[in-house]
């Protein structure tokens, strides 16, 4: 990248470098302060143990669907902060990144070292100001709840600083607003992240109990290892489930020339629109499932004869057509994949033929009653139906379809959603050919782990 010809890139690199340098300065200063206060001999050995732990935990991430990963790294970070204070904890964080990120570009490494130091320093400062203390973390004080607020605010500070620094970097590279990036990539994982804080606290307390130390931390970690493997198994099952439903629903469509690839293309358009609208990862996930399954209610022997019949459908046939989203949602419910999304995919499937003005079917819902996902799916479905099977004159067809969608925006379709689709087309980001691949390829993490790695699937 040449200087002068692309100044924004230089700005981004300057930001990464600045965070890195500031982080290192803070680290040196913190360590200096700490040295002046006097250091116990055993400290190096203990810090080494926790460094090993941090690296171990970082090397064993759980792979989430769609290529993102997560670790319990924050629990170890938080324990380090409480046991050693910010200076040594930041040192451990930097050292663990030296191992974990050794294959990343140097600038990214420096940035991540900087951001983790700043997160530790900020969290440590807040924690101390609120009366928190290090080293002698007596069970009695914690039990009596005196440290509660300090611990909570410290944890929040760590997450906020780290996620904001990373969001700024992503926002610069992708030309998006910082708030937007943060909302998409980090907001949804905040509760999960903070749930790890009690873990870290407990680990620190167990570690500091006289006569227990490392042995007790080891005992504490065994169930975590067990849980990690079970969790990994669950995630693999999720992936297998996705693979299976995709393959089989494709097969159900594949042998009918009129429906071949329909669901796949609808899903792709819906996901592209969803990303354009800034939907967070979990909602994109719902959209993907709903896109794949939205027409599954059409699986019946007499469907083709009804649809292909010349002339208008009679009352009974019309009823069958109107019922296919209901039937589809009933089936989607049976294939629901994640415990915490109970019924959401089914609701989107049920509403994909509803219209904004309430003139759609089966329930005649409109306006605010329609979820954003359902509106997106409705537009994607209509767009695919209008542009399918006409590979020749592709461009004109698409332009006409978009114009038609534009005419119906506000009555039948959500103008915001139609606008997003038009923007995608104008930027040339809409792929119209079906792919041979079964499902979207995993995305590479944008910037390094903790908490960035978990957010990598977040459409960033």
């Amino acid at each position: 990248m040449e200087r002068g010809t692309s100044p924004p890139v230089t700005l981004e690199r300057a930001y990464l470098l600045t965070v890195g340098v500031v982080g290192w300065v803070v680290l040196v200063w913190l360590l200096g302060e700490r040295m002046r206060a006097g250091v116990e001999v055993s400290l190096a050995w203990e810090a080494g143990f926790f460094l090993g732990l941090a690296v171990l935990v970082g090397l064993q991430p759980v792979r989430l669907p769609r290529g993102a990963t997560t670790t319990v790294g924050f629990a170890v970070d938080f324990a380090c902060l409480l046991i050693f204070g910010p200076a040594v904890a930041a040192g451990i964080g930097v050292a663990s990144f030296l191992v974990l990120l050794r294959r990343s570009p140097w600038l990214r490494q420096v940035f991540n070292q900087g951001q983790v130091v700043l997160a530790f320093a900020g969290a440590g400062w807040v924690y101390q100001r609120l009366g928190g203390q290090y080293v002698e973390l007596s069970a009695r004080r914690v039990a009596f709840g005196e440290l509660g607020p300090a611990l909570l605010v410290g944890g929040v500070a760590f997450f906020t600083i780290s996620s904001l620094l990373i969001s700024v970097a992503i926002a610069q590279f992708e030309r998006r607003s910082v708030a937007g990036v943060w909302a998409v990539s980090f907001r949804w994982m905040a509760p999960r992240f903070l749930a790890l804080a009690p873990f870290g606290l407990l680990m620190a307390m167990v570690y500091q109990t006289p006569g227990l130390g490392i042995v007790a931390v080891g005992l504490f970690l065994v169930p975590l290892v067990g849980a990690r493997y079970a969790f990994q198994g669950a995630m693999e099952m999720l992936e297998v489930h996705r693979e299976t439903v995709w393959a089989l629903s494709n097969a159900l469509e594949a042998y009918d020339p009129y429906t071949r690839n329909h669901s796949e293309l609808v899903t792709r358009y819906a996901l592209a629109i969803g990303r354009q609208l800034g939907l967070p990862a979990p909602r994109l996930e719902l959209l993907e499932w709903a896109g794949r399954l939205h027409d599954i209610g059409k699986c019946r022997q007499d469907w083709e004869s009804i649809i292909r019949k010349p002339g208008r459908p009679n009352a009974r046939e019309w009823e069958i057509i109107r019922q296919h989203p209901v039937e589809g949602s009933r089936l989607a419910e049976k294939m629901e994949f994640l415990p915490h999304t109970a019924g959401e995919v089914a609701r989107i499937v049920r509403a994909h033929h509803e219209r904004l003005d309430g003139s759609g079917y089966p329930d005649g819902q409109g306006g605010e009653q329609l979820s954003l996902e359902a509106r997106v799916l409705g537009v994607a479905d209509a767009f695919e139906a209008m542009t399918a099977r006409r590979a020749y004159q592709r461009r004109r067809e698409v332009e006409e379809a978009l114009a038609e969608l534009g005419r119906c925006a506000g009555t039948q379709f959500d103008p915001q959603v139609v606008g997003a689709l038009q923007a995608l087309w104008e930027r040339g980001e809409l792929e119209l050919e079906p792919s041979l691949e079964q499902h979207a390829t995993a995305q590479e993490p944008v910037l390094a782990p903790r908490p960035a790695a978990e957010a990598a699937g977040g459409g960033s």
Partner: protein, 437 residues
């Protein structure tokens, strides 16, 4: 059936022995010096963890209360812990989960007996109650945990064996491993609890709710996470099976001339046969999946052909024969379903090598595919044929074709299965077999 009464006897004896052992410990209760706080803490912890139950694939279930039972042996001694366990089980299973009384009695009974034995092992190996220390007492600690694990698992495995049949050794082997991973993690939590009980309980001040809350957090956080992860895995497996069933049914709706519910019936019968063969749980699962999906390749065969082949009695046109291979190619990209895909491909192979698509013979045909072929034929005869055959007639036909179309041993097993479930009476089955030879 005879097994039922053995099971009842076994459950009754376990309950009675548990109650007897509890009463017997009362003679030594004087030696136990415990306050109400300590007992309440352990009963509360064990009661809550006893609700965290995870099923074992080979039958039975395992509860997270193992951690507290083990900690109890080390901290309170087996005598007090036996009472803790009995009360916790009665409270959580009987009063919260409202399970049948026989089960509550059985679970409380075998817990008490295993605990007392493990406590004896702990003492015999030099363990000191309330003064756990990992150097010299390591053998005692490991011995107690191992005893508790082995006894609990064996106790349940015997009950599963009596309930479902099969060989005890195989039942035991297939459950000891998975239970070890779970109990090992929980034993680690239990040991941690025992160690923390010695220090924190004194540090914070015994008999205080703050101390109890701290210990509870130290136990519930790791146990809860472990339980959550196991449950998630289990529930996703269930959802998966449900999904396959739905997709199989959808396929039936799409293919002309197929019988609604056919795939599900084939899956159920095939899985039943597989269980009778005592195949490992994963293989039974794959056979069930193959049952749901065995005709999925028919979506690739034009429906007019399917219609015609139904009208023409007997031979199937060449194109229809493709469905086995198409089915395999649909399932091929799903790595997890590889075994099932092979079964789907070979479910029209014949024992004598005259089947399709490859003309495999005898044991070259995957076992699952042989099971599937038999189940498919039986369900087809009893449900789709015009007119449907009675179970007895169908079995008769199948036995006639044993050795030519079907694996003779499997066909006999199916006969035994049908007799056992009462679908075919033993006398007619005898006649059938006679007639078949």
């Amino acid at each position: 059936m005879r097994n039922r009464s053995w099971l009842r006897l076994y459950v009754g004896l376990t309950t009675a022995a548990g109650v007897g052992a509890l009463l017997w410990t009362l003679r030594r209760w004087g030696a136990v010096e415990l306050g109400g706080w300590e007992l309440a803490l352990f009963i509360g912890l064990a009661g809550v963890l006893d609700v965290m139950v995870v099923p074992v694939a080979a039958g039975g279930a395992m509860a997270a209360s193992f951690a507290v039972f083990f900690a109890g042996i080390l901290s309170l001694g087996a005598t007090a812990t036996a009472w803790v366990a009995a009360l916790a089980v009665v409270w959580s299973e009987g009063m919260v989960r409202r399970r049948p009384l026989r089960r509550v009695g059985f679970n409380a009974g075998h817990s008490v007996l295993s605990l007392l034995t493990a406590g004896w092992v702990y003492g015999a190996l030099g363990g000191r109650i309330g003064e756990v220390e990992l150097g010299s007492q390591l053998p005692a600690v490991v011995g107690a945990a191992g005893t508790l694990w082995a006894l609990e698992t064996a106790w349940v495995a015997v009950a599963v064996r009596l309930e479902r049949g099969g060989r005890l050794g195989r039942r035991l082997r297939s459950s000891l491993g998975p239970v070890l991973a779970w109990d090992g993690a929980l034993a680690s939590v239990g040991l941690l609890l025992a160690l923390l009980y010695q220090s924190w309980w004194q540090l914070v001040g015994p008999a205080s709710w703050q101390g109890a809350a701290l210990l509870a957090a130290a136990v519930f956080i790791p146990c809860g996470l472990l339980y959550y992860a196991y449950r998630l895995q289990g529930s996703l497996r269930e959802v998966y099976a449900q999904s396959l069933r739905t997709l199989g049914a959808l396929l039936e709706a799409k293919v002309e001339g197929s019988q609604p519910g056919h795939g599900e019936q084939v899956a159920r019968l095939a899985a039943r046969l597989a269980e009778q063969l005592e195949l490992p749980p994963e293989q039974v699962e794959q056979i069930r999946y193959a049952g749901y999906l065995h005709d999925i390749g028919k979506v690739g065969v034009p429906s007019a052909l399917l219609q015609r082949s139904r009208e023409r009695f007997g031979g199937e046109p060449e194109t229809l024969r493709l469905h086995a291979q198409i089915g395999e190619s649909i399932l091929a990209p799903i790595r997890f379903l590889q075994p099932a895909a092979q079964m789907v491909k070979a479910h029209h192979e014949r024992w004598d090598g005259l089947g399709y698509p490859q003309g495999l013979r005898q044991r070259d045909i995957p076992l699952g595919a042989r099971v599937l072929a038999l189940a498919n034929a039986y369900v087809g005869m009893t449900h789709s044929a015009h007119p449907p055959l009675s179970p007895h007639q169908a079995l008769h036909r199948l036995l006639q074709a044993a050795g030519s179309r079907f694996d003779p041993k499997l066909t006999e097993l199916l006969g035994r299965c049908l007799v056992e479930s009462g679908e075919v009476s033993p006398e007619t089955a005898g006649q059938v077999e006679f007639a078949a030879r």
